[in-house]
Symmetry: C2
Subunit: 239 residues, 2 copies
Amino acid sequence: MTEPTETTTHADPAPADAAVLVRDAVDADRAAALVGSCTVDYDGRASGHVDPGVRHVVRQPDGTLLVHGATGHRPLAWHAGDGDFTTTATADDRLVLRAESNTEELTVALDAVHALTVYDPDDADKDVQGTEADVVSRLLNDPDLVESGFTPLATERDTPAGPVDIYGRDANGRICVVEVKRSRVGPDAATQLDRYVRALREDLHTDSDIRGILVAPSVTQKCRDILLERGHDFSPFEA
Amino acid sequence: MTEPTETTTHADPAPADAAVLVRDAVDADRAAALVGSCTVDYDGRASGHVDPGVRHVVRQPDGTLLVHGATGHRPLAWHAGDGDFTTTATADDRLVLRAESNTEELTVALDAVHALTVYDPDDADKDVQGTEADVVSRLLNDPDLVESGFTPLATERDTPAGPVDIYGRDANGRICVVEVKRSRVGPDAATQLDRYVRALREDLHTDSDIRGILVAPSVTQKCRDILLERGHDFSPFEA
DNA sequence: CGTGCCAGGTGCCGT
DNA sequence: ACGGCACTTGGCACG
């Protein structure tokens, strides 16, 4: 159990003071959230720039640096929690936060810090339900949902093309490859299923006696076309 | 030009006070960032729960509600900026933030607010370079990078299977379908290319005289296998 | 508005 | 580390 630590907030700190506060937060494995006017520059796998404006900047104890704008739930820019992190109060009175790893770098240059909050976030276990794995479980509990008379034999069965969601037999004893999707799908799901079926046909030397079944709430027309063209089936499944 | 507004920070506000402050921020199209101990519950396309802990909660003027934990740059939970948003100070002295739309709902129940910052984020134009479109531009400027003697004829050419990145002819005058990827790719890219080639062959009634070329920094082995099996080529391209 | 596809995709789990 | 794939994928551009 770690010592509980106070959350502290600072209004309009001078850049030099903010630099020290952020640095102290980093050294203490704490988080620092800043609101301020800044520019953002990213360089790495791609490169990007954000023009000056008021943003929300967060440095987390895992080393993550991220910048939120006014819209959307995804950061405008970010840096993963590896590599170095430096805070600099520049001669022209700006606060520069810089996260730098082997391949990526992110620089946030604030010309004013309106608010700074230092806090101790807790690590979170989030559990999610309604995933594809949950759908597979339901299908295994009630295989008729896949198709009347369907018998599952294995999950994640390996093929040269990758693991098959559900491997089994239909009412007539034919081998079936079942690909499960939790939401409406497009062409990619049909080709994925097709790859598994082809790979298994080759692997088992049974040239065409293997069926492909795509289980999903719904499919787009192009997906349906591909399934038809390759001779596979679609079995609608509603969550 | 809007009136510049002060960023305000509040340390340890009582839930009832925080509720009013957040509500006022929402009404004024401002943003509110809270640090506090809370649980998080999401229900919609899937459902999820996060156990109690100190998190960073942000409500943006576009209506987005998001929750950051201690790690990673992606929120633990979020809600898009549509639908309703309510703030409630409960009888047992908690602050409940609830975003609700037709299909999704997110509830953040704080038992303590350690810090609350109200601010005015600016909308951001971020420009990114190094996208796939940039790679395509380079290839068009110097088609030999695709292949010696290659001549581009069109970009985003439509086929029944979708738009082709670059459509052109090789040194021998054969039609080529070029699929461009900005990073190392797996099987999906190979099947995507294959779909375009097949569709174009059928469309142009030239049964097999159409080549497929995948341009990417590198490919995985399975991707290479599929390309080989379907008779397509890989042309490495380094950013 | 649905369909298709890119994304600095990210994250998870397997070899 | 590399590979294959799901993800509340999100976001854009086009029919």
